[in-house]
Amino acid sequence: MSKPTVGIFGLTGCAGDQLVILNCEDRLLDIVALIDIRDFLMASSENDEGCPLDIALVEGAVLSRRDADKLRAIRQRSKILVALGTCAVWGGVAAMDRGKDRARLLEEVYGEIGLTYDSSPAQALHEVVKVDLGIAGCPIEKEHFIAAVAALLNGDTPLYPEYPVCTECRMRENNCLLIERGELCCGPITAGGCEARCPELRVPCVGCRGPAGDTNVPSFVAMLEQKGFDRQQLAARLRTFAPEGVAQ
């Protein structure tokens, strides 16, 4: 069987998810041997920018016309399109408060010239094209990437936890930051899969993996309000990595 052709791309993000791929140090050369990477600008100066791809891995959010055009072109040439990381899956940090007046912000940062820049409110990939698989995380977990490659090579789809960070946190028998220390931990409403990385270190979860599958946000907010947190600020904080209205 010929090796599947793969492209790895970045739209607007921080390159963190591509870096996680390069961080698979021990397995990198093995992975590279199993797939045929045709287009990976961050790692190679010899890329085929037009060939059909079996798998496209795309990091970052859509923040400009240029990003949107690039994403559509990737979609056209790919059988399977994978959204890599919370920016790609949910919009990520650049999408927070995306209702704000962008022209004003651009002008504020860059001066008048900013108004001429190609810039649009951050969108998750699936708001622009069809996405076949999302791997959330800011950045993605290395093991999730390896599992995805293994599954896709076998024609399967990998499954990732939909239960919240809290479930993993309890399994690790941590003291609850929210209940016992009154700290604003987003664990109850954030998708697990990170083994409760932050609460394990006594640091509240900031929600970097995006919303959990089936959580009751209103009741969570009500509970926090009872604990004395301000409703508006709560709402903003819960939307840091995934703005309102990005349904999957």
């Binding site: 996680v20 790692a43 190679s44 940090v93 650049a94 932050c198 640091v203």
Partner: protein
């Protein structure tokens, strides 16, 4: 007019390109174009509480995420007058070393070396010369191990919080790191051997102004708050609070990165600048290695930044070991973060990210909410100097052969180790 355009600069972080316009034989215009979308994180964090700032702004850039997090914390702590413990300082310095090791190993072996040996990528290089790539991957992994143990994650650390660390690493973790670092040190000679064996990259000479953090004890990345700007003719000191002297930036139409100059001159930041500003780091093993690499300071060739990274890489291994020894000698304590009491005011922090000076400056209201934020990144600081060096390279290239010029330009741009995601984050208009 002829135009040489490198539309997508490969093997760098982020999206950028280079355009050169020639008028006959004369260089009319050189541009480092930045195509990265504007994420506008600085204005978006206005109104956020102080504990939200570092996790959001670390997302400016993955490869420098430790530097962004810790510079952010340092600025916030400075605004609130929080003094962290000596143990926290040591752990933060160690975390910086981890990032520097990872970043330099990635850049040198996976992104830059393939150029010198005429390969398009590290994977292609690995097919013929696996040892070089495996060496890079080993060191890169070691840097990540440090970041995981101290920062809680290799990319976007979670454990560093205002006032200290969520959880101090355990004794066992430090001892394991010490073991890995001692093992890693045995690779130091191989690093220098490899870099010394590369063909000379001798196609751009220019007087260069360098700027770096003046280290109180000559070898800190995180501590200190004075920048020294060194040129052939002069030296100047800029204090953190006066950082705007370094960033009289102007927005330019071709890129979302503004251009910085000091006294009208572009300046270079990064590994080469650090060694130039703090030459007393270069003793013992480093001095010997420097001779082998034929590096003379102050250098007039930006390609020497690769050599400087190789020297820092082997130095970082030693310094990281030293920090661990110091931590163990002092007796590791399971400290909680220092209490943080917000107050109105401004805090500015400067540190040395792997690619050079990084500045975060915030103003807070009395409840500890951000009212203004400024982030100045090494790649933004370097943009003007990079364009100058690209111009010199074209001027000094005897052949008017597009392929030759294009390859040289790409090598210079990569030697700067640009981080283009970073470069779009800029200071506010004034």
């Amino acid at each position: 007019m002829t135009t040489i355009a490198i539309e997508h600069l490969a093997r760098v972080e982020g999206h950028g390109g280079i355009t050169v316009e020639l008028e006959g034989d004369a260089v009319a215009n050189v541009r480092f174009d930045v195509f990265e979308g504007a994420r506008l994180l600085e204005p978006l964090i206005r109104g956020k509480r102080y504990d939200e700032v570092a996790p959001i702004l670390s997302r400016i850039c993955a490869i420098c995420s430790v530097a962004h997090s810790l510079t952010s914390l340092k600025a916030t702590e400075s605004a609130f007058g929080v003094r962290v413990s000596p143990q926290t300082e040591l752990l933060r310095e160690l975390l910086y070393r981890g990032e520097s090791i990872e970043s330099h190993a990635l850049h040198l072996f996976l992104l830059a070396v393939p150029d010198y040996l005429n390969y398009p990528s590290a994977t292609a290089l690995a097919a013929d010369k696996p040892a070089a790539v495996l060496l890079g991957l080993r060191l890169k992994k070691l840097g990540n191990q440090i970041q995981e143990a101290i920062g809680g994650r290799a990319v976007h650390p979670v454990n560093a919080v205002p006032g200290g660390f969520g959880r101090v690493p355990t004794l066992d973790q430090l001892i394991a790191l010490r073991g890995s670092l001692m093992q890693g040190r045995t690779d130091a000679d191989a690093v220098i051997d490899l870099v010394a064996s590369l063909p000379a990259a001798d196609f751009c000479h220019s007087d260069t102004v360098y700027a770096a953090l003046r280290s109180p004890n000559l070898d800190r990345y995180y501590g200190g708050d004075e920048v020294m700007v060194v040129s052939n003719r002069s030296r100047a000191i800029v204090r953190a609070a006066d950082y705007r002297e370094l960033t009289n930036e102007k927005a330019v139409p071709h890129s979302h990165a503004k251009h910085s100059t000091f006294g009208g001159n572009p300046f270079m930041v990064g590994a080469l600048a650090r060694l130039t500003v703090n030459p007393r780091r270069l003793t013992g093993r480093l001095a010997v290695a420097m001779k082998r690499l034929k590096l003379l300071l102050p250098a007039d060739n930006p390609m020497d930044n690769n050599k400087a990274q190789a020297l820092e890489l082997i130095d970082d291994l030693d310094r990281a070991l030293e920090s661990i020894e110091q931590l163990l000698r002092a007796g590791l304590k399971d400290e909680r973060p220092m209490p943080v009491h917000p107050r109105a005011g401004t805090g500015t922090a400067i540190t040395e990210a792997p690619r050079g000076l990084l500045i975060h400056s915030y103003t807070y209201d009395d409840e500890g909410r951000v009212t203004a934020a400024d982030v100045v990144t090494p790649t933004a600081l370097n943009a003007a100097s990079l364009e100058l060096h690209l111009r010199r390279a074209v001027e000094q290239c005897a052949e008017r052969d597009e392929a030759v010029i294009s390859k040289r330009l790409q090598m210079i741009a990569r030697a700067y180790d640009p981080c283009i995601s970073c470069s779009v984050h800029l200071v506010r208009k004034r």
